[in-house]
Amino acid sequence: MKIAVIVFPGSNCDIDIYEALSSVCGADVDYVSHKQASLAGYDAVMLPGGFSYGDYLRAGAIARFAPVMKAVVKMAHAGQPVFGTCNGFQILTEAGLLPGGLKRNDSQQFICKTVPLEVVNNQTLFTSQYQEHERIALPIAHADGSYYADQATLDELEANHQVVFRYAEENPNGSLRNIAGITNRQGNVLGMMPHPERAVEAILGNTDGRRLFESLLANGSVKVEE
């Protein structure tokens, strides 16, 4: 399985996700520039965290126009795995690949800490190695992570099991229905605010994120049935 990590101007967790996949999980990974128009040859694509275009205007709003995004959309529609964390999640919603959007945190502050999460859906490409309802803890680091969608969309997300991670115990940013991560309807596009790539090595004090990447690698580009 060959994986692309997209580098936008202002991405800064690109190295983190690259290393998590490559040195920790032994995957075949490349950095791919935002200017590249094609993702031919890649089986999966990662949109990293950071501040693409400085988060000027809105987080993710400008990155969605990068040349590479057409190829990302194409892969998403083809059912190949597309993953975005933090700024990557914001870009996926701005690009319309995931419903809803991310607002400024209720506290109006950037917040960096490790929070408890519930794995709500372990039937996805990205979560098959977790238990259903398993409690894990992952770091968050964002100022714009408050998930918003209208009631109908929220109901639909729940009905289709598209809510994959929920904040457990405390809601750090004001997300509706404690949503921390969702997939698209087909289940091949996952966006989440927490950073699994920061939790893959014991030396950094947390390995709860590792199974996300291992799930992806184990499932390859197997399509999850709708």
Binding site: P9, D16, Y53, Q109, F110
Partner: protein, 742 residues
């Protein structure tokens, strides 16, 4: 700016006095250096370059006291940042910088651009910044002005550093009335590099290009450099509008582009320097001086954001996110291509010339033609008057203050809620401390620790400074600053390597303040020698005053240590019930300047006892080797609030407790702040070898329990406190004090 005056008008009307150039200096420049009257632009350039901020004309004699070499130092003071060998062909690069005046005026942008500036210093050396630290000192949290300054400053540091993707892994935050009108915001950054990539701020080679890269020039911070050297007063308030705005997104691109040129195309580059204070003039003149070259620049080529800028404004603008490169002739287009790729300006604005003249063209005219050295090397050093303050002589003759503690438990509970002691999580959680996934220990311990990817090594880092101690006894206070930093580094299991510093003082023209500067630097220098931690970089910030009230003299020490085996990092929290608790270092009656004194008396007074540097160094060495051998489970150094606070902190965030026999200490001594002490916990199996190595420098004081109670038996009191409750007081204090009350 006013309409340019003729040289004769300048001589007559002396506008340079407002720009902080003295009449003697002006005369020396006209008569000795130029042999003619300087024109308007030249006068402006001299004013900026001869300011304390750029020239260190007052502080230089004092800075010479610092040792700055040892076997590991590859680059000492003088470049963008210092460089230290960490083996395997790698090096660590670090420096600290103050942004006190800009932060006082406009906390958010001041702090943000402070981070931006220090990061440029690191990558201009060819290193990738891997961690930042911040040392903040505010007025008391009893008024909304301080609250807004804290909020703005922390947000500024966070927004810039987070966007850049550089983790902020440690720092310090203190509160004292002396900083009410003049906040201190010192930022430190640490970078990693291969030794082969080390760059210099140097311009040489006749015909080589001087290239300007990065953001466009506007009228930001004009006179910032000279402004930083002039005392604040509230009447000045309206003049302070040339706020420099940070653009971290631009800086992220600049960082990547510069590192690409440096690491991939070393043959293109002669030198590189960031544009900091006094913008283009200081970077270009310093580079030319370093290369012993002449330089000619055409200011019309400088990318500009505003129209109608004068030569003076272009040269002195402090617009952020700009760098100056000296590029081998023929490679200008190559360099430009790389910067184009990042959507950044890269423009050749001049050339290296034969001879030693610094020549500027603007609007078809030569606006400056002076020897390079006259701006950089010929600055008149100033001998300053010194006088020992009467308050110190008086304090030395008086008996020391002895606290009467009738309720030790209450004293401990109150101390944990003092803003300087209380938990800082509500501040540092606004910083991304984990990006780059190398942070092994983030904020909330003694030192921040990052791993060096691809090796077994780690780096520990800390910033420490305590203005109260330095104010009471400058020389001893200077020593304590080093001792505290070293204890924090060793507590993580790291070997102290070297330091950077920010020297924050009041107006040096006041002989008492200069005496404080001199004495405290002497104390720091003595401690640097004793601990073998040379000074490899630093920064001086003088004139920290508001309406004539100086801050406490506050030298900040930024120390970096090396961890040979990252798996042997020692946490600052107790690990297992049954481990033995030791106190390293002897406790004396050290209450002058303590948190306890401030809390009880409302103010500080007295004289400090001297510290035995060799003894402390010896203790730290032995402790470190025990830690490296894996014999120590946790270590935490003692600072504000002494042993009582340190013991509590060792138990916070665990579910453990301690049962301690402290019968040779009084209740008051539980809060004494004798420097150079640590609390360590040692597993039962290691006790014998640990005790043998530390001898009577480590005193067994009890054991770790699994009750989550802190129980201590003192000579004249009992402490029996639920740790959950103590932790709650400690955690809730700062968020509560930060809430607006009026």
């Amino acid at each position: 700016m006013k309409q340019a005056m003729t040289p004769e008008e300048i001589k007559e009307k002396k506008p340079y006095l407002d720009w902080s150039l003295s009449e003697d200096e002006y005369n020396y420049i006209s008569e000795k250096l130029l042999g003619r009257l300087p024109n308007y632009t030249e006068t402006g350039l001299f004013s900026a370059m001869w300011s304390e901020h750029c020239s260190y004309k007052k502080s230089k004699p004092v800075l010479r006291l610092f040792p700055n070499k040892n076997a590991r130092v590859l680059q000492g003071p003088g470049e963008g940042a210092g460089v230290v060998d960490i083996d395997d062909g790698q090096a660590v690069v670090f420096k600290a910088e103050s942004h006190n005046h800009p932060t006082t005026v406009e906390p958010y942008q001041g702090a943000a651009t402070g981070i931006g500036g220090i990061l440029r210093d690191i990558f201009s050396m060819g290193a990738r910044p891997v961690a930042s630290l911040d040392s903040l000192h505010f007025g008391e949290l009893d008024n909304n002005t301080t609250r807004m300054k804290v909020t703005g400053t922390v947000r500024g540091i966070g927004d810039y550093g987070n966007c850049m993707g550089i983790p902020t892994v440690a720092g310090e935050t203190t509160f004292d009335p002396c900083y009410q009108g003049n906040v201190l915001c010192n930022a430190m950054s640490v970078g990693l590099m291969d030794q082969k990539d080390i760059q210099k701020g140097k311009a040489a080679g006749i015909g080589n290009a001087v290239m300007y890269v990065g953001a466009k020039t506007g009228r930001d911070g004009i006179h910032g450099a000279t402004f930083a050297s002039a005392d604040f007063s509230d009447e000045n308030a309206t003049q302070r509008s040339a706020v420099q705005v940070g653009d971290p997104f631009m800086e992220k691109l600049l960082l990547e582009a510069c590192l690409e040129v440096i690491t991939k195309h070393p043959d293109w580059l002669v030198g590189i320097q960031d544009m900091g204070a006094a913008g283009i003039v200081s970077s270009s003149a310093e580079m030319a001086s370093e290369g012993k070259s002449g330089m000619e620049l055409d200011l019309d080529l400088v990318p500009q954001r505003e129209t109608g800028m004068s030569a003076y404004e272009i040269m002195l603008s402090e617009s952020q996110e700009r760098m100056l490169l000296c590029v081998n002739k023929g490679h200008e287009e190559d360099v430009k291509k790389i910067f184009d790729d990042y959507d950044l300006d890269a423009v050749t604005i001049g050339r290296i010339t034969a001879g030693h003249q610094y020549v500027l063209h603007h609007d078809g005219q030569v606006v400056c033609d002076i020897p390079v050295a006259s701006l950089t090397d010929d600055v008149l050093e100033e001998a300053s008057e010194e006088k020992k303050p009467a308050r110190i002589t008086k304090a030395e003759g008086q008996p020391a203050w002895r606290p009467q503690i009738t309720n030790a438990e209450e004293a401990l509970r109150r101390l944990l809620q003092q803003s300087t002691v209380a938990d800082k999580q509500c501040l540092y959680q606004q910083y991304d401390s984990q990006v780059r996934t190398c942070t092994v220990v983030g904020p909330g311990s003694d030192a921040g620790v990052i791993r060096v990817r691809g090796t077994k090594k780690g780096l520990a880092m800390t910033t420490d400074g305590n203005g109260r101690f330095v104010y009471l006894s400058p020389k001893v206070g200077g020593k304590i600053a080093l001792v505290e930093a070293a204890c924090n580094i060793v507590a993580a299991g790291a070997e102290p390597l070297a330091i950077t510093d920010c020297l924050n003082y009041g107006d040096p023209n006041d002989p008492e303040i200069f005496w404080e500067l001199h004495q405290s630097v002497q104390g720091m220098a003595d401690a640097c020698r004793a601990l073998d931690t040379p000074v490899i970089s630093g920064n001086v910030s003088l004139y920290n005053e508001n309406n004539g009230h100086a801050i406490h003299p506050t030298p900040m020490v930024g120390m970096v240590g090396l961890i040979k085996d990252i798996d042997r990092v020692v946490p600052s929290f107790a690990q297992h019930a049954g481990d033995h608790v030791y106190l390293i270092g002897k406790t004396a009656d050290d209450f002058a300047g303590s948190e306890l004194q401030k809390m009880v008396q409302g103010d500080i007074s007295g004289a400090l006892n001297d510290v035995d540097l060799d003894r402390i160094h010896d203790n730290l060495r032995h402790l470190l080797s025990e830690m490296q051998a894996g014999h120590v489970a946790s270590a935490h150094d003692l600072s504000e609030g002494g042993l009582g606070v340190a013991l509590s902190e060792t138990l916070f965030k665990t579910d453990l407790g301690m049962d301690l026999d402290l019968r040779d200490l009084t209740a008051a001594q539980l809060f004494s702040e004798t420097p150079g002490r640590l609390v360590v916990t040692v597993p039962e199996e290691q006790v014998a070898v640990f005790e043998k190595s530390l001898g009577d420098n480590a005193k067994h004081i009890g054991t770790v329990t699994n009750t989550h109670w802190l129980e201590a038996h003192l000579a004249d009191a009992e402490v029996n406190q639920n740790v959950t409750e103590l932790q709650r007081l400690w955690e809730e204090a700062l968020p509560c004090q930060l809430k607006s009350k009026d």
